[in-house]
């Protein structure tokens, strides 16, 4: 979960004199534990993955004892591996379908529809949408597993018989992820919309601008930063999504819903191809880092 909290008005910091040893200790001691943990358990593993991605490390067989440097072999294999390319394509479809189109649009629509509604309506809608977001991902998977089952709620309502998880696994995981993640976008957009001045919209309405034009020419331009920041954040969250898809379809049937995190899991934790798995992890990290950088540029942090 990545949310940017609004910093309170900046407090004038106490000036620090010189760089005496006492001065250094004064910030190094309290920051120490955090720096050690971050170095050992976050920076360390990332650097480690850069190293093992260039080895043939495995957890079983001869390479587990004598792993050796294999250069870019893992990456050459990766970009010629149809299963990886398939997973990459599916991840792209998953992110575009469930985050960029699904959560983002639905979140904006719900936030827009809620404007000017009564307190009760708002809290009921908010409550239900947020509930889907609060449940643990494995429970969310159980909910959707039954919802989409042959005799499940969806088929009962639609009056058809369909094994959704087999016939349309990608659609199933995309819908489940929209259900799960929309609350985040909805909250972001509710907050952003509350900053849009009401009198601006009113005067536009007086001038004869319909709801569509007001949305397109006033509201959206005013909240565009929130839109971009939200798109980056949900893309980042969806990119790494594992538990929901894994519990719902396991990547199947076959590899029909095997996104990159699931493919990475299979290579690293089922076949114990740690070197190859790390190469996949590294590709994911680089993509994540790119989106994270774009996000940082977009939000222009005021007082860090």
């Amino acid at each position: 979960m990545t949310i940017v909290t609004a910093p309170s008005p900046s407090v004038t910091s106490r000036p620090v004199r010189g760089s005496s040893r006492r001065g250094v200790l004064r910030w190094l001691v309290p920051l120490g534990p955090a720096l050690v943990l971050l170095a050992l358990f976050l920076a360390g593993p990332i650097l480690w993955s850069v190293y093992i991605a260039f080895t043939n490390e495995t957890l079983t067989g001869s390479a587990s004892v004598h792993s050796r440097f294999v250069g870019v072999a893992n990456f050459v294999k990766l970009f010629g591996d149809p299963n990886f390319l398939n997973s990459f394509l599916l991840t792209f479809v998953f992110v575009i379908g469930s985050a960029v189109i699904g959560q983002n649009t639905l979140g904006l629509i719900i936030a827009l529809l809620q404007r000017g509604r009564g307190r009760v309506t708002r809290s009921v809608v908010n409550g239900v949408v947020i509930a889907a977001w609060v449940v643990p991902e494995v429970v969310a998977a159980a909910c959707w597993f039954s919802f989409l089952a042959e005799e499940g709620t969806l088929n009962t309502v639609l009056g058809i018989s369909q094994e959704w998880l087999y016939t349309a696994p990608m659609l199933a995981v995309i819908l489940a992820n929209i259900w799960r993640g929309t609350a985040f976008s909805m909250l972001v957009y509710s907050a952003a919309l509350s900053e849009v001045p009401a009198d601006l919209l009113e005067s536009a309405a007086v001038d004869g601008a319909g709801p569509g034009r007001r949305l397109l020419h006033i509201t959206l331009p005013l909240i565009r930063r929130s839109v971009m920041a939200n798109l980056m954040l949900i893309t980042l969250q969806t990119l790494a999504s594992f538990g929901l898809i894994y519990a719902l379809t396991g990547g199947g049937p076959g590899t029909a819903s095997q996104t990159t995190p699931l493919y990475m899991y299979e290579q690293a934790f089922r076949y114990f191809e740690i070197g190859y798995g790390s190469a996949i992890a590294l590709v994911m990290l680089v993509i994540g880092a790119l989106f994270s950088l774009i996000y940082l540029r977009l939000i222009k942090v005021e007082d860090a």
Partner: protein, 273 residues
């Protein structure tokens, strides 16, 4: 007239969306109370608490929930301690690389944790930490630190420095300042960070699934998964009851911080428009 129609349409749309969001919950709620539940969400009149009774055994739910409490709880406590300490110099002193450090933390929150698990697993294996709950808690703490330090610093910035001045005059160092003045004043902020971390880890599935070796150590997230991945013979009503018991604490804690959460979503404060 058109205004009325528009209002009606908006209301109808909201009602439909709400129903659609409720849909997937239906089965779990109904099945948990049905003695012989199947995957069909058919309302019956024979409600009972048998499913809850059946799962409330040591191995099925009590031990996994205790594991969840231990893992999430110690991660939350450790994170608050370490992040609180780290936030103090970041909030109070003018440090040369402060801005870079804060931006790096924000950047880190965007990195896919899922991808980090492969090297963490390789590292744990190499150093014989695989299966160690304390080692996993340290990793979980490290992964929650960037966001927690960021939040903690913002809360700390809200505590005016002049309140500490009296303490400084009395000769108190940063330790006294932090524990006696700043800490108590930002207690709500500390609670929010602790609950955020706790709820986040409560639902965490991938890390314990990969890093812990035996079922006795696994938290409820992994137990639910095992429960339902063997759906060939699973008792669906019990799965539903388990899901509800496991979800309840997260929901309760979420409601507790809900008020603070809403304001966290305003990008406006940190964004120059």
């Amino acid at each position: 007239m058109t205004r009325l129609a528009a209002r009606g349409a908006a209301w109808l749309a909201l009602a439909l969306i709400t129903l659609a969001f409720l849909g997937p919950f239906l089965w779990v709620l109904i099945a948990s109370l049905e003695p012989e539940a199947t995957l069909a969400a058919q309302p019956t009149l024979s409600f009972s608490l048998d499913n809850f009774k059946a799962v409330l055994t040591w191995d099925t739910i009590i031990l996994p929930l205790i594991n969840s409490i231990v893992i999430s709880g110690s991660t939350a406590v450790l994170t608050v301690l370490v992040a609180g300490l780290a936030a103090y110099p970041l909030s109070r002193y003018q440090l040369r690389y402060r801005r870079h450090f804060m931006l790096t933390l924000l950047f880190t929150t965007g990195l896919p944790v899922t991808a980090i698990l492969v090297p963490v697993y390789a590292m744990f294996f190499r150093f014989n930490l695989y299966g160690s709950v304390p080692a996993m808690v340290l990793f979980l703490t490290a992964s929650s630190l960037p966001f927690s330090i960021w939040m903690m610093k913002n809360f700390m910035d809200g505590v005016p420095v002049n309140l500490e001045e009296a303490a400084w005059v009395d000769g108190a160092g940063w330790v006294r300042s932090l524990t006696a003045v700043v800490g108590p004043l930002m207690a709500p902020g500390i609670a929010v960070v602790a609950i955020f971390v706790f709820v986040g880890q409560w639902g965490n599935f991938f890390a314990p699934f990969v890093l812990l070796d035996t079922p006795e150590k696994q938290p409820a997230a992994v137990t639910v998964y095992t429960f339902f991945s063997q759906y060939g013979q699973v008792a669906y009503g019990q799965l539903a009851a388990f899901s509800i018991l496991y979800t309840a604490p997260a929901v309760v804690l979420y409601v507790a911080v809900n008020k603070y959460l809403a304001s966290s979503f305003s990008f406006a404060g940190s964004v120059k428009g």
